[in-house]
Every structure is written in C-alpha cells, then in structure tokens.
Symmetry: C2
Subunit: 207 residues, 2 copies
DNA sequence: CGTAAAATACTACAAAAGTAGTAGGTGTTG
DNA sequence: CAACACCTACTACTTTTGTAGTATTTTACG
C-alpha cells in the first residue's frame, strides 16, 4: 500500500487526482491540501510515501516547498505534477529534490505508474522531459570539443579543476612550474580566457 | 517511415532486433553491422534516422562510436541498447551524444516506442535509468547545503564562479576589495578550503 | 628523414589572490 | 538591552597566478 499526499490548489484537479489515487486498492490518499504552508506543516507529520506537488500554488511555489521539505523528510518521494514544461521549472524541481516530473495532461494510468515507479526508486518522466535533462548533461561535454587542447593540456586542466596549486600540479605531472605556466598560458590563449575559473568554465561545463 | 540502423555483434540479438524493427510498416531496418569500424564507415554514408547501438562491441566500444559519429552526423539519433545498467556507462553514453539508453531485456513494444520517441525529439528511458541521471543533477545541489554560507557570501561565490576577478566582483557588489577579501576569507574558513577552485567545487558541485 | 606540433625549461615582471588580524555599524531576537 | 550574526572596511604582508617572451628537446607523421 502506497500512501499518497496531494498538494493542489485547483479544486477540479484536486478532486480528479484524489479520485484516480483512491480508486485503486494499492494506493491510499492520506491527505490533500491547497497551499504550500499547509503542505509544509502536514507532510512532515504524516510522512507519506509519495507527494504529488503542484508548482503554481497561491502562497509558496511547489518547488520551494520541495526544497524545504526534502531535507526534513528525505524518504518522501516528490512528484511534480504541473502544466509547465519549461526547462527551468524542470531543473529547479529536480535540484530542489523532486524525483519525478509529470505533466497534468498525462493519462490517469500514467500517473499511477509514476507513483509506483517513484516509490520503487525510479524517476518516471515522459521522454521529452527526459530530453531536457539529457541535453543539460550533454551541454557539459560539448564544451570539451574543439579548442585544439593537447593531451598534456588536458592533464593540466584536469588537475587545476581539482583545486591544486601550480606547485602541486607541477609535482604531480613531474614537470617544472615554469613549464606548467607555459602550458597554462597556451591554454588560456586557445580558450580566449585569462584566468583559471574562466578556463575551467569554458572547457568543462559551467558551474 | 523511420530508418533504423543496428550495431550489434551478438547474432541472436541482432536478428531479434532486426525482426522487431522490420515487422512494423513505419520502421525500416536500413543496415546492420557487427563492429564499431563498420558502423563508423556505414552510418555517415547512410544517415539513418535512428541507430540502435550496442556498447560491448568487439573492436571499438559503442560509446566511443557515438562519440565519433555524433559530431559527423548530428541529426542521427543514437539509442544505446545494452545489458549494462551501471551509472558510468549511462553517463558516458549521454556525454558521448546518445539520447536514449535502454536495456536489452526491455520488451519489443518498448523498443519500438523508444525508436519513435527518440525520432520525435524525446529521450526515452526507463524510470530507473532516469533516476541515475536525476541523482547526478541533484548531487550538484546537495553540495550547497549547510555550510552556514550567508546570502552575501552566496553572491560572492556566484560571481567568482563566473570567473570575475576580485576587482570586478567588488565593483559588481558595490563594496571595497578589502571587504570582498574578508568575505572570501570567511567563506574559505567555513568550507575548509584555501583557494577559489576548491571553494567552488565544494559549494557548487564538481567540475 | 625532415618538419611540424607538442612538451619541456627558462627569465623577469605585473597583477591577483590569500593570510591574519582589528574594528565599526546594522539588524534581529531572546 | 545584550548577544549575536552579518556586512562593511581597513592595514600589512606573503604567496600564487598571469603575461610575454625565447629556446631546446621529444614525438608523431607523411
């Protein structure tokens, strides 16, 4: 039996979600609230297995709710259930601690499947939401393409990325600091940057 | 009609995949090879819509194949189709340019759906593969938790992350460089680090 | 085998970053 | 109102980075 908590301000959708969840025997709706404030109070008390969280709430945004709740109850799984499919909403939700992001237009069966899957440790989402996330992961690597950075220069960048000083890098690579500086100088020219952080941002993805 | 190209060294699975794809009218299998080398030669010639790529090939790994092919034919969508479900394989595949990652044990219908969805611009994958990716996105934010970094210090860290110098940050925040240095000194103490890159790595996720 | 790219090493100076304090002002809260 | 956290600003000094060159030695490749 999976206990589900619903946070949704629109009465129609609230009722709809509640109906879908309550109809099946292996799911139980243990609570429904319409505001973020209520969610913040009730969820840590009830500790449901899964929370269906709307984003556009009247007081606090659903994303901020998750951000505040997840540290308090790490074992509660949050599914963002919303009309927005913008990239930023998706990323913010995941960064806040949600593990699933589905659109309200999804079919009832899909919602139930999502609840089960997130409960079982998955991150159910449609393939177009997934693509947004994949694109972000990929963006980091695209950076690494084509600056004519040599293998040795990659070594240097990799060590600098760890936060090592010139002396430490030089020791690790068995070269003199003078040589190292030359490498770094060359790297900066190739990347058209003029300090470490800019170089790392440009070569590896952004922070 | 979606043209599909298959890279798979195991004859049984190769035949199975080919059969699944060829059975439906809206899919056409336009080529099958058993090695990475052949894939590298044939795919840029044929430019199929979708490639089903095995990872464990006899010569070059499927991941390296994608890495080399994707820049040559950016409009070809790659689906990794493999037995491995380790995190690293998943990330490496996505970073190499694949847009979907499915396991060989998946059902035939799921495979066909995946081909269609990736062709339509999605990133189909099971919810447990998705969770691995979500976990990586989240890892970056977990870092930001609990070091007692004040709002002003966050401002400072955010600007430093852009690669700005002390002078530039001080100007941007309308404070003196002396004050800025004090902030940074405090940040370093809180994070137990002693330079910029270490601080950024610790506060935001790793590079 | 020659040559081009890469890696190595050096000088010398300039600029930025980091260390280690003190200290006044502001805002909040028990 | 006292304690506390935070932001601000300062001095003085050290260390690390960055700039701008020259020059020699490997290594890779046609």
């Amino acid at each position: 039996m999976i206990s589900v908590f619903i946070v949704e301000d629109n009465p129609d959708i609230q009722l709809l979600l509640q109906t879908i969840v309550s109809r099946e025997v292996e799911y139980a709706c243990v609570g429904v609230v319409t505001t973020g404030t209520e969610a913040l109070r009730r969820i840590p008390e009830l500790l449901p297995d899964v929370v269906l969280m709307d984003i556009g709430l009247p007081d606090i945004s659903g994303i901020d709710c998750v951000r505040r709740l997840k540290p308090l109850c790490p074992n509660v799984e949050f599914i963002m259930c919303t009309v927005y499919d913008e990239d930023e909403k998706v990323f913010q939700s995941l960064e806040a601690g949600a593990n699933s992001y589905i659109l309200k237009k999804s079919k009832p069966e899909l919602l139930l499947t999502a609840i089960r899957e997130v409960y079982e440790g998955g991150s159910p989402m449609s393939s177009d939401i997934a693509r947004k996330i994949v694109a972000r992961v990929q963006r980091k690597d695209q950076a690494r393409t084509d600056y004519h950075i040599t293998p040795r220069e990659v070594d240097v960048l990799t060590m600098l990325a760890k936060g090592l000083t010139y002396n430490e890098v030089a020791d690790a690579l068995f070269i003199s600091v003078k040589t190292l500086k030359k490498h770094i100088y060359n790297i900066y020219e190739k990347l058209h940057v003029d300090n470490k952080v800019e170089a790392l941002n440009k070569y590896f993805g952004k922070f």
